[in-house]
Symmetry: C2
């Protein structure tokens, strides 16, 4: 059976090559499996221009549509072949970096069996990666690696054991050395797995540390939609429940159980999108806890709301060039004029997606705890 | 849209209740969402008798079959309703514990969007949990929790950074205390995530430690199909590649980076199914490294093959009562007659599945490192 499948795949690939030449003469032919495929899976594939190609078996299905493709046009409709496989290529190139997607099969929503899954949109979705020209900074390389620890911490306020992931830098625990801590939040519909899985925060840190570009620090990532239900919207978001978990339960747990420099001077908070909104609110509510604030595609600060509070050592604002880059640039200038150490960063040719946030972490990390 | 979906779900549940009464009068009506569902998902459901019920939206699909159900009969065919949802209940009860499954939708294989995914059969599959009567031992409880650390260790023999997960018991790292180590292997088609995700090894240990039933130890779990490809079979399995990674790369890395008692006296190896076969071979090849051997649904030892080698302090053999329990019992008796400290354990009413192995770990752990 395995051999038959292999043979079938080769045949299909050859057929696909013929069809491809006829239908899409301008698409570069260097398609390779996406780096985020399940082990041994040939599809989905991506090429050097950023096109994605899909191939899904469902011999008796009528219709399969991929949610990726040109914005607003309903994604990519696959074409059914005589071999029972649906295939298709995005109409245009996609942005470099990570994208969530799913299949609509005869009206139902499913994941692509070829791809790994990532938690976003309050569900585990398929993921695909268009390798970026600067992919080296988030690549798995032959350097010393830190660990990512799953921690279950007690939370009286919510009556549960809650989960956090803790990145500890290479060498952590081999001496009594204590480290600063960055609390790093995901976006709406994501969870505490996002920054390691789709964000590759651990690899970005490992690489920056290997290049001696950052002072090693711990990163703590937990679930930020504490008061949200499946059907909840941002409209009614209240910070209280999450702020309590973070500041009264998680921070004390981390300081009690990890080798941390447990003071404001050595504590930062950052978040992407909704996590930026949380960072904004919590750092304003609890400025005595954090010394570095970072909003990644997550809004801005203005000098007025910071007035009369302990001054942060850094305010970092970022977004993708396809978002509203003028917003973060203007805000940083206004903050600087008011005497704050504010830095803005714009990720070129990316939108509200993870490559923006990977790059933002790369830019932010060297500015922390100096 | 969210509100509409909620309304639709309630209507469908009410309709389902009516149909259920007509078609399955003997099935207990206490269906609840499986504990392994994605956040907020109502289906799949399980009842107290071990039946599973499925509900999948795909309005234009012709056929959806669930791979679970009575053995050998091709699983459970779902029935399409006027609302575009396919629903169905297993024809009979299933064994307690964890089961992998998938959907066949119009001839293609996909995961159930309601369920979390677990790596088995060399792919991420849907998982469902029939709560066991003894589920308390693997439940997430309000006790001190150890951590599960993702470790990337260098492997010269394979030219890569390889991944392992390391369970460290509660309090690990808060003093200079050193711990014994159990190397614990998954089965064929699974990976290093299996023992934490579907096996709940960390929660089993946390609970045993809270009850003072075990001497706390570290557990190390890594990928054991080092020489396997997607199409590889067990027929051609060679131990060399994995043995090198485990004994020459991983063990030294763990002993260098964790607070371990780095000697034979304090090192155990165990594995389930194929992992048992690996344990069998590697402990015989490298008896100077391990003092405790455990095969979980993974074969047996005989006195002849152990002759002339350093004697293990314990040989543990287990399986489910629906496997070949006489085999492990007889082997343990033979080993005891030959002067070995051999223990057999049979998990009642389970087969070659994870509840057998969760229970085996519960029985094995108190016997280690005493």
């Amino acid at each position: 059976m395995h051999n038959n499948f292999f043979t079938l795949s080769l045949t299909a690939i050859m057929l696909a090559s013929i069809c491809r030449a006829q239908t899409s003469p301008n698409i570069s032919d260097d398609f390779k499996p996406s780096p985020l495929n399940q082990p041994g899976q040939e599809y989905p594939q991506v090429n050097s221009l950023g096109y994605a190609r899909f191939r899904v078996k469902a011999p008796q299905a009528d219709s399969i549509r991929v949610s990726l493709g040109l914005g607003g046009r309903g994604g990519t409709l696959l074409t059914k072949g005589a071999d029972g496989f649906f295939t298709g290529t995005t109409e245009g190139p996609m942005d470099e970096g990570f994208h969530y997607y799913h299949l609509t099969i005869d009206g139902g929503i499913f994941n692509d069996p070829g791809a790994l899954n990532y938690y976003g949109s309050t569900r585990w979705e398929s993921g695909i990666e268009i390798p970026a020209k600067d992919q080296d900074f988030y690549a798995l390389k032959d350097v010393p690696h830190g660990n990512v620890q799953q921690v279950l911490f007690p939370s009286k306020s919510t009556g549960t054991s809650r989960r956090a992931y803790v990145y500890t830098p290479p060498g952590y625990g081999r001496s009594a050395k204590k480290y600063p801590v960055l609390y790093l939040q995901h976006g709406w519909g994501e969870d505490e797995t996002a920054w390691s899985n789709q964000g590759r925060a651990n690899l970005i840190m490992d690489n920056l540390i290997a290049d001696a570009k950052v002072k090693p620090f711990i990163i703590v990532m937990t679930y930020g939609m504490t008061n949200e239900t499946k059907w909840g919207g941002m409209r009614n978001f209240k910070i209280d429940a999450f702020q309590t978990v973070l500041t009264e339960e998680l921070i004390p747990y981390i300081d009690a159980n990890f080798q941390t420099l447990a003071n404001r001077e050595n504590r930062a908070m950052a978040g992407l999108s909704m996590g930026g909104m949380e960072t904004h609110t919590i750092t304003l509510n609890k400025p005595e806890l954090f010394n570095y604030y970072a909003l990644l595609s997550g809004g801005t600060f203005n000098p007025e709301e910071l007035k009369g509070k302990p001054k942060p050592k850094l305010i970092f604002l970022s977004c993708g060039s396809k978002e509203r880059p003028d917003g973060v640039k203007t805000a940083a200038t206004t903050l600087k004029d008011a005497g704050f150490n504010a830095v803005s960063y714009v990720s070129e040719n990316t939108a509200h997606e993870f490559l923006t946030w990977r790059r933002s972490l790369r830019e932010l990390a060297p500015l922390l705890f100096n």
